[in-house]
Amino acid sequence: MCEGVEATPPGKLTAGSLPLSALGITVAAVICVALLSFPSLGGNNYQLRVASTLFFNVALAVGFWAVYLTGLLNMTQIAFVGIGAYTTAALAIHGHWSMWAAVPASVVAALVVGVVIGYATLRLRGSYFFLVSFAFLEVTRLFFTSFFKDQFGGTNGLTGVPRPPVLPVLGASVNLASPSGYYYLTLGLMLLTVTLIWRIVSSRNGLVLRALSQSDSLAESVGISSFRYRMLIFLTSTGLAGLAGSIYAYMNLVVFPTDFGLTRAVLVVVYTVVGGVGHILGPMLGASVITVLGEWLRRFGTLEQLAYGLVLVVVMLFVQGGLVSVPGRITKGSGRLPRSVARTAWKVRLQAMSSAAWRRRREE
């Protein structure tokens, strides 16, 4: 008998994700209560807006990560956010649909397009899938720019989305069209996304998804249909993207084609890479840190973009597992300087020494 086997908790089935312990549930519950009560504890409007953006970005990053787990760099996600947003805006403006009808319709629209795109692309692998998904992102943006200008407004976008309604909640009323209303909307989106993806990833099928990124051929050889599983996780992510888009339309009350372009798609990749792909906390952490950092950097104007690039380079060079890997590195004691840093530091020191020697000689 091997002790290691006995010591492996039942949660080991979750393949590298944390087991859902009592502690984990308690911590999650405390965080949820704290998040839910933040607006009534006197968060100001600015803070609430930043928090909404943060929740929205976390939801996108987690949805992206779920597909990434199967080995696909999926650039279509933002296109589906766009499809959700435009569906909502068009139905609400032209069709006078209520929010309760427009939101599900947007999710369905994203899913329908998702099925078609999934069938066409999910048999592709690696860079081929990446390129096709990237093309779809651009095509979708161009579609909203150039086609059905009466319905979608062309480059001017769609303005005048009706405000979301006032909801009676527990006797009080929550105005969804206020900063705290948007806070709750995006919080709901994030909690739904994180819970759903977490359940999938830590279920038996999550193990299958992880396996696909490591060896397609082996998975197929034991009867796993890689296409089917990629399709399921792709559609999950796509549906959530449609929902996010719908909420986006209600938050901004205007939608432009450029809102759903490459810039945003790349940002989602950056969130995920910076946060780390090893755990669901990675994309969550990455999206949170970069959103807050972005808000802070805004005062520096155009330098914002430069700073994003810098953060990405630094993380890729020195923290390859992403931010989420940092605590593990420190506790494991492998937190010594990466070789490249050490080498640079050594060169700098050598240079300093030689220039100091040179200066001394001159002074003599």
């Binding site: 086997v5 089935l13 197929e220 050889s221 034991v222 249909s225």
Partner: protein
């Protein structure tokens, strides 16, 4: 147990190159058939055609009454025909236990939505998958390695793990692509013993292998391919004494096998 694997006059062309020409093969439950031939003879192509990785240009592949010609690999696997790979092919960053649990996917697959619910039946089944995977690891002598990352195992253990994954899929027929390549002699014996044990339980095994000593000792029947054609078939003794086989293959290969 009356469902043999039959490949009927399989031809496979790559453009102008004929990799397989009218090759037929029959594999009965409970027997080990060796498939040998020099490099480029078409062994791997035949294996890929049978396992559904490639479609044959002509010919059929059947398991019992089920026609598997041109079916995708996961469908072929579901029919009971499971293959291993020549190069080490594992879920490298998962534990050995996870690897084997994935192998039993066919038996234990769960609906995508159902697996999301915190059901007792899910939990029970997950425990069952785990226990079974551990039993298979035990059978392959890998019990101690269960929690180790697959990519961190020694080559011998990785080969055994490949076998364990294939076994977890509960195949009726097993196609092994050079399972002994790169192994020390002791490890080779270990792998061969596991294979012999399986055949005793009624599994059919097709063994593609370069190691003549192992093939001669393990297989009841040997098929020899050369340049995409079957040039000989029969018992190890018959094949070894066949003039054409000696010419294209055994003469040079024996000298190689003798060198360390």
């Amino acid at each position: 147990m009356s469902s043999p694997l039959v490949a009927e006059s399989v031809t496979r062309r790559f453009g102008g190159l004929v990799a397989l020409q009218q090759v037929s093969l029959r594999l009965n439950p409970g027997e080990i058939v060796g498939l040998i031939g020099p490099n480029g003879a078409g062994k791997s192509t035949l294996l890929n055609v049978v396992a559904g990785v490639m479609k044959p240009t002509h010919g059929r592949v059947k398991l019992g009454d089920t026609d598997l010609t041109g079916k995708p690999p996961h469908v072929v696997a579901a029919a009971g025909l499971v293959r291993t790979f020549q190069a080490v092919n594992l879920f490298g960053r998962l534990s050995a236990l996870d690897n084997v649990m994935l192998g039993s996917h066919l038996r234990f697959r769960a609906g995508f939505l159902r697996s999301l619910l915190p059901l007792n039946s899910n939990r029970r089944q997950e425990r069952e998958i785990r226990d079974r995977a551990l039993a298979i690891l035990e059978e392959c002598g890998l019990r101690e390695q269960a929690p180790a990352e697959a990519q961190a195992l020694s080559l011998g253990h990785q080969r055994l793990l490949s076998l364990a994954i294939a076994l977890a899929a509960e195949p009726k027929m097993l196609l092994l692509d050079e399972p002994l390549a790169g192994l020390a002699r002791g490890d080779q014996e270990e792998v061969l013993n596991v294979i012999r044990g399986l055949v005793g339980k009624g599994l059919g095994v097709l063994l593609v292998e370069h190691n003549m000593r192992a093939v001669m000792s393990a297989c009841g029947r040997i098929v020899v391919l050369n340049q995409g054609r079957t040039i000989a078939e029969g018992s190890p003794a018959q094949v070894a004494s066949d003039q054409r086989v000696r010419e294209v293959y055994l003469g040079t290969k024996r000298e190689k096998a003798a060198s360390p």
